[in-house]
């Protein structure tokens, strides 16, 4: 730690505005952000994709990508150094001595061709210190692991290596940008513990950037909610979570899926964005989506003021940027919207033949890495019967074999041994990454029309069917002329869903269709699948790593680990009375926001 005043904040951001130019379009990504990060505190920076949270992280490090021609006004001061106008030499010294960073994906964030020990030593400058840090971040047999390459480590260990690099040189501030998003829940809990431990042991501050309020809730002292490049609400974590005073925070909390989200109602979502960029620049950026917005909200940008009305802002109190009074917003939080009930169980028809029968399925792959061949036994004797009209969720962590099972049912890979039967009508699949599963050079209309080819409908009839299918997923008919790249992530996933269900399949297979989406968007896609299921009495097999999603999407929940099914029961049984120790450990790792609402 540098010899600056002990009471000075670890980092202070004042009136920071950043404009980036991407694809020839200049946009203000951050607009007048004020934030002081005190010494030794953990600040959770929460926002949806596009809120500017990652740009803030890059700005803090002075690493805004020069390719997007950043224009910055305002100030960022870390250890007395101006991170915007300081010399390259000074900024680099701050990065070296005062800052540590942990990025989202530890696989891509570590140099694949350099031994991890060397990558740590680049930051520490000393092998003994690197080994000490490796032990400090919980890496066992540090001396052995020192000489391996990143691809030889698990995701959790890789993120610990990143943590060791980040804590090199006793930084005064660690910036963690979605450090757990790419990891399994059990590993996520460990990494969050590690961040708290780094703060406790080294006394450094932590900026934890996340899209998940519950993740921030685990370890943050203060939470800042970012919306469209501005701070919407900022305050002590328990206050912001328990007494949110900004409608956006309330919306985020309500649309978050948890283990106690009601199963029999439509999931709450935020209103979709309807305003143009210009309209959003004029008043409160959230006004077009806010259920409480009035004319003032649409006309003037609200200032960031203390909730208790004391006026002065020194950084520690609860502040928000909203014209409506706090009491009204509190009411919004308490009144759960009168969501219509939907039918989620009992549609299974016992008498009909099962939609999917899987018997004694084994799946082995030979993985060739360089000279050596290694056999992966992905499925080890799976028996699963899914009745017609049933909704089943499969939960497991990466490597559990859940996606392999889904692919086997879809017939995408031949199984090594055993039997897979799918009823007439076949299986259709919706993948995690809708962006890459839609052919980029075809228009949405062509992608959907392709599915109708075997029916030989003719041009007009096909076009009519495409329009109906788009209506069913809540998109206007004009979307059929658009290419996938011009759609948002949520819209793309809707199109993928339309493609799969245009001709109703015997079973709809969903492979983590919402894990890449923001909470509210994910909820709306889940609503769509549940609605379709009800309407078409379709059989749905839903694969996810998220227990709360599994509970919502399946009457039955199947837990898989290491290629085996270890638990299979009704959703309530599995969530509330888990029998297998693995299910219990999964449940214990799910981040929850306690006693809110």
């Amino acid at each position: 730690m540098s010899a600056t005043d002990e009471k000075a904040p670890a980092a202070s951001i004042a009136n920071l505005t950043v404009a980036l130019t991407r694809d020839g379009v200049r946009a203000e990504v951050l607009r007048g952000v004020d934030l002081k990060i005190q010494r030794g505190e953990i600040v959770g920076l929460v926002g949806e994709s596009g809120s500017g949270k990652s740009v803030l992280a890059l700005a803090l490090m002075g690493l805004l990508p020069s390719s997007s021609r950043p224009e910055t006004t305002g100030t960022i001061t870390i250890a007395g150094t101006d991170m915007i106008d300081g010399s390259a030499e000074q900024i680099r010294a701050v990065r070296r001595h005062e800052l540590g960073v942990i990025f989202q994906d530890p696989m891509t964030s570590l140099n694949p061709t350099m031994r991890v020990g060397r990558q740590i030593t680049e930051a520490t400058g000393d092998k003994a210190e690197s080994l000490r840090l490796m032990s400090a971040v919980g890496i066992q047999d540090a001396a052995l692991r020192f000489t391996v390459y990143p691809h030889e480590l698990s995701g959790g260990l890789r993120q610990r290596i990143m943590a060791a690099i980040a804590s090199a040189g006793r930084p005064s501030l660690i910036i963690a940008d979605e450090p757990t998003t790419a990891l399994d829940v059990t590993v996520q809990a460990q990494v969050l513990d590690l961040l708290r431990q780094l703060r406790d042991e080294f006394g450094c501050s932590v900026v934890l950037i996340t899209h998940d309020l519950a993740v921030a809730a685990q370890i943050a002292d203060r939470i800042a909610v970012l919306y469209a490049g501005r701070i919407a609400e900022l305050g002590p974590a328990d206050v912001v979570l328990r007494e949110p005073t900004h409608p956006y925070t309330v919306g985020l909390l309500n649309s978050r899926l948890a283990l106690d989200t009601p199963r029999d109602t439509v999931l709450q979502t935020l209103r979709p964005e309807t305003a143009t960029v210009a309209e959003r620049m004029r008043g409160c950026a959230y006004s077009s989506r806010c259920p409480l917005a009035d004319d003032t909200c649409r006309a003037q940008q609200p200032p960031l003021l203390a909730v208790d009305g004391s006026g002065a802002v020194d950084g520690s109190e609860h502040v928000r940027a909203c014209w409506r009074d706090a009491a009204t917003v509190r009411e919004l939080a308490l009144t759960r919207s009168d969501a219509p009930r939907i039918l989620v169980s009992g549609s299974s028809t016992e008498s009909a033949a099962p939609a999917v029968v899987v018997e004694g399925v084994h799946q082995r792959f030979v993985v060739r890495s360089g000279g050596r061949k290694r056999e992966v036994h992905a499925l080890r004797g799976i028996d699963l019967t899914i009745g017609a009209g049933e909704a089943v969720s499969i939960v497991g962590e990466s490597g559990s074999g859940k996606s392999t099972l889904l692919r086997a049912i879809a017939g995408l890979v031949p199984v090594t041994s055993g039997r897979v039967d799918v009823a007439r009508g076949g299986a259709q699949m919706v993948f995690q990454d809708a962006g890459s599963s839609l052919t980029p050079w075809l228009s949405v209309g062509e992608i959907l029309g392709e599915r109708l080819l075997p029916l030989r409908l003719g041009k007009t009839e096909t076009a009519a069917r495409v329009t109906t299918a788009l209506e069913a997923i809540g998109l206007p008919a004009s979307v059929s002329r658009v290419r996938p790249a011009d759609l948002s992530g949520g819209q793309r996933q809707r199109v993928a869903l339309a493609r799969a269900t245009m001709i109703p399949p015997a079973v709809l297979l969903c492979d983590e269709p919402t894990s890449a989406l923001d909470a509210s968007l994910a909820a709306s896609v889940l609503n769509l699948i549940r609605g379709m299921r009800e309407e078409l009495s379709m059989t749905v097999l839903f694969v996810t790593h998220d227990l709360s999603v599994a509970r919502l999407m399946g009457d039955r929940v199947v837990v898989m680990t290491e290629g085996r099914i270890v638990e299979d029961g009704t959703a309530d049984q599995v969530i509330h009375h888990p029998e297998h120790p693995y299910t219990r450990s999964l449940l214990a790792s799910v981040p929850e926001i306690e006693a809110v609402r």
């Binding site: 490090m61 690493l63 390719s67 680099r92 010294a93 701050v94 990065r95 070296r96 001595h97 800052l99 960073v101 990025f103 994906d105 891509t108 964030s109 570590l110 140099n111 694949p112 061709t113 350099m114 680049e122 930051a123 390459y149 691809h151 030889e152 990143m162 690099i165 090199a168 890495s369 360089g370 000279g371 050596r372």
Partner: protein, 328 residues
């Protein structure tokens, strides 16, 4: 790593065997009679029959193939119909000149290609003034460049010679540059360089663009990668980030392309050697083709093929060294 090396060597050996089979068939179906090449056109029929028997030409084809391989391994590639000397002796005379030319051109191609890639990726000011002309030159066919080069540097400016290697190399290595250094002969070295410059530069231009463009696109994607961002966030100096994190991870595609281009350069050297009267196998080959000198053609094919296979095997090994994931 040893497993990888063994596997790669194994596949290279198989490739060479396939190549010899092709070359053997080429010889077997060739119209020239190797016996007459040995004995001359005036030999008696009895002598020819005896020689055929002695050379094993009456044996079944597989047996002949086996003998061909055994002979090739012993350095016997048959007699040239045109020069009436063993093909091996001809190759020994002509190959060093070509290898020297291609080696220098290849090093030049690597340098120009790297400069092209780095100046583009790092947006060096003025880099476009280098890349533009290089691109324009690469669009012209080599013979045109060669003629233009001779007109400009030999006829007009009179700074470079137009033909030959400048010396009758009789030194131990067969390479002018190496022999002159070994012999401590500065004049000969300078003459060697002067004669090499023009053909080598012309031979290197097209490959340098191929290597440079591939290398540039992989540099660009590496510079944008997450781990380079991590390296920067450590506060490393830009030159350290470049040297330790960017370059090594960008080499793979460039190396593959370099291996391919080396093979193409040996094939393309024929034209350049013709224009510059370079006493190498390109010229030898060009003289052998009109006279249907199949043993000579087959010999050159075999040697070039082996060089190509060895070069690409080497590239694979270098790639494995650069990227530990390839031999995990």
């Amino acid at each position: 790593m040893t497993r990888f090396l063994l596997r790669r060597t194994g596949s290279a050996v198989v490739l060479v065997l396939v190549l010899t089979a092709v070359v053997f068939v080429l010889q077997a179906v060739s119209p020239g009679d190797p016996v007459k090449a040995y004995l001359g056109n005036n030999a008696s029929p009895a002598a020819i029959a005896a020689q055929r028997q002695a050379l094993g030409l009456n044996d079944p084809l597989p047996v002949q193939y086996f003998h061909y391989i055994v002979h090739a391994l012993q350095g016997n590639l048959g007699m040239s119909l045109r020069t009436r000397r063993p093909v091996m002796a001809d190759l020994h005379d002509f190959l060093p000149a070509t290898v020297e030319l291609v080696a220098v051109a290849f090093v030049l191609a690597l340098l120009l290609g790297s400069l092209y890639a780095v100046s583009g990726s790092l947006r060096w000011p003025g880099g476009a003034f280098f890349r533009g002309p290089l691109l324009v030159l690469a669009t012209a066919p080599p013979f045109l460049l060669a003629l233009g080069g001779i007109i400009l540097f030999y006829a007009q400016l009179q700074v470079l010679p137009a033909a030959g290697r400048g010396v009758d190399s009789t030194g131990p290595s067969g390479f002018v540059l190496i022999d002159s250094i070994l012999g401590g002969d500065a004049t000969e070295f300078v003459a060697g360089v002067q004669h090499l410059v023009l053909p080598a530069v012309i031979l290197s231009i097209a490959p340098s663009i191929s290597i440079g463009r591939i290398l540039r696109s992989s540099l660009d994607s590496t510079l944008a990668s997450d781990y380079v961002r991590t390296a920067r966030s450590k506060g490393l100096r830009p030159i350290v980030v470049l040297g330790k994190h960017v370059v090594r991870n960008s080499l793979g595609p460039g190396l593959s392309m370099a291996g391919l281009q080396l093979g193409f350069m040996f094939a393309g050297v024929v034209v350049v050697e013709q224009v510059f009267s370079w006493p190498g196998i390109g010229n030898y080959l060009a003289a052998s083709i009109p006279t249907s000198d199949f043993p000579a053609i087959a010999g050159v094919t075999l040697v070039l093929g082996i060089i190509y296979i060895v070069a690409n095997a080497l590239v694979d090994v270098l790639q494995a060294l650069a990227d530990p994931r390839l031999n995990a």
